[in-house]
Amino acid sequence: MRRHPGLFLSLIVIVAIAAVFFVYPKGVGTKVLPWKLGLDLVGGSHLVYEVDLSNVSSTDQNSVIAGLRDVIEKRVNLFGVSEPQIYTAQSGNQAQLIVELAGVKDVSDAINQIGETPLLDFREVETNGSSTQYVFTNLTGQYITGAALTFDPTTNAAQVSITFNKEGADIFQRMTAANVGKPLAIFLDGQLIEAPIVQQEISGGKAVISGNFTVAAAQQLVGRFNAGALPAPIKLVTQQTISPTLGTDSLKKVLFAGLIGTLLVMLFMLFYYRLFGLFAALALTIYIALTLGVFKLIPITLSLAGLAGFILTIGMAVDANVLIFERIKEELKRGLPRSSAIEEGFRRAWPSIRDSNTSTIITAVILYFFTSSFVRGFALTLLIGTLISLFSAITTTRLFLRLFIKDKKDKTA
């Protein structure tokens, strides 16, 4: 780079120009890869469900959560949401399912459909004279792999066949063996929906519930069994819904503030450091283009906090330039020729640039690991911004200075 500053600088500028086209929201880039914006900028719902894992053994927890995720994903997809985001987070016996829906017209409907996930379980029936008691068993919907509407081959009556997985089949076999001639109650969300009489011990994990069902009633029961396969109860604990109006307004304002902030920083650099400041301003432009390009490429979902974090890095990106330029001024005062002063300035400013950026990186990393989704966006943009700003303030600015600032001929070192 020392030999061919022009070549390397041209390369950086070309990449930056490409990045501008790539990130410009109305340009070619949008066709290739559109921007991902957070719910707080486009409007939408952020729902957090708490999963009760207290009745799930620790070895099963991962598969239970994965199963829940699938069920909810299927339900969410029914609303035609573009790319619903569903995350899971777990700590101990507490697990959370985070559902993000962008651009849903009727959030309330979506919430109802997701939330009304019934929990199915089987209970043994004990009759004591006139009172009936239902005794909990460990056979729940999580052991059901599926249910279907079938018809009795002889009578043609509607019936419901259910299939258990292997574990469920064993439990079901033991339960039916112990309850021949007695009813076995099926509960949905604590409500008794059916109590068929056990005819004989059933092995093999397939059971048929026959009764005086109408086809419609049997169908409803099948639906409930399938839905009830949800292995653990969930509860909506957090809802954040932002209207598209508010989101768009925030986006416009934060972009405008970013633009004004950038111009102020550039003007300040030009005013205070003159020609050097001009190069810092150019490097800052390249920084903005490259960073946005990286954000889009990864891709990072930009939230309001994330954009704010990025705008802050614009104010920090020139810090290294300030440190370097002040050093160069000192070296010039000591009588060094311009080119050596520039090299000395970069060399001597480096330790403080390194140390101060390390402290920002420490902060960003800790922020990223100890916070939830909204703040994470901020931490990530801060981290990436800091890393790229090191490149732009040091490499890009140095190339500019090497290329355009030459020693005056009459001056001797």
């Binding site: 939330g115 957090t238 209207s243 307004d249 503030a257 920090m316 402290s359």
Partner: protein
Amino acid sequence: MLNIVGNKKIWFTLSIILVGAALVSIALFGFKESAEFKGGTLWEFSVPGQNLSSADVENEFVNNLHIVDAETNYDPTNQSFLVRFGTINEVAHQADLNALKTAWPSFQELSFQSISASVGASVLDNAIIAIILVLIGISLYIAFAFRKASRPISSWKYGWITLLTLFHDVSIPAGMLAVLGHFKNVQIDSNFIVALLVVMGFSVHDTIVVFDRIRENLLNHKGKVPFPTIINDSVNQTLARSINTSLTLILVLLALYFVGPADLKYFVLTLLVGVTTGIYSSIFIASPALVVVSPKDER
């Protein structure tokens, strides 16, 4: 050249008063925690053309929705009402929404969030862990980075003083938020925690710039110049850059404060106060403090 080290008693006194006032405010008023931390509902809506006051809104909540604990704030930039009350479920939300739409046909929901208390508590716990980790992480890094500057004071002392200035720089904006919470009902949310963390990450920049110069001057002079003189020279030599590096950030923050989205207003204000405090502490507190902790025969 400014005699910063010589007048250190003035700066220390000023800082002790400010930090003391901040800590007293926090102890007296505490923070107004947002729904995000303590659970609850935050409902933002606008009712164009109705010319309602916050009291009208609260009355409507009590009489029509039977929500008695509603606290209403008007946000002039968005021309919207922010109403806070206890957690409600989605069914109640829909019922209330319909009731309000009937009462005010132009009612427009801007945002709605309802958060249960258990979620909020874990957010706050994580935030406190994050703050402590950043304090320790940065201080340890400083102690490590300045390991070569071990005479006349050990590099651990650079770390300790950094910890002290970080505490100084976050307590003042935090105290301001406690005062704002008490008098203007401003609530703290996770943005506030982020702001404090960024203040820490950033205010240390200036401190590092001065410490770095001290490190360099110490190595160059090797005990020929008295320690307090080296410190005072270093602070003066780096004065312009300490101020300029923060000034560029302050310019960006001012833009965000005045033309940015209303949601970020107090986040940006916390940062502004914190970063300004950070400039002050790196020049007037961190470096003179190095003299205080140096051995007596070096002063």
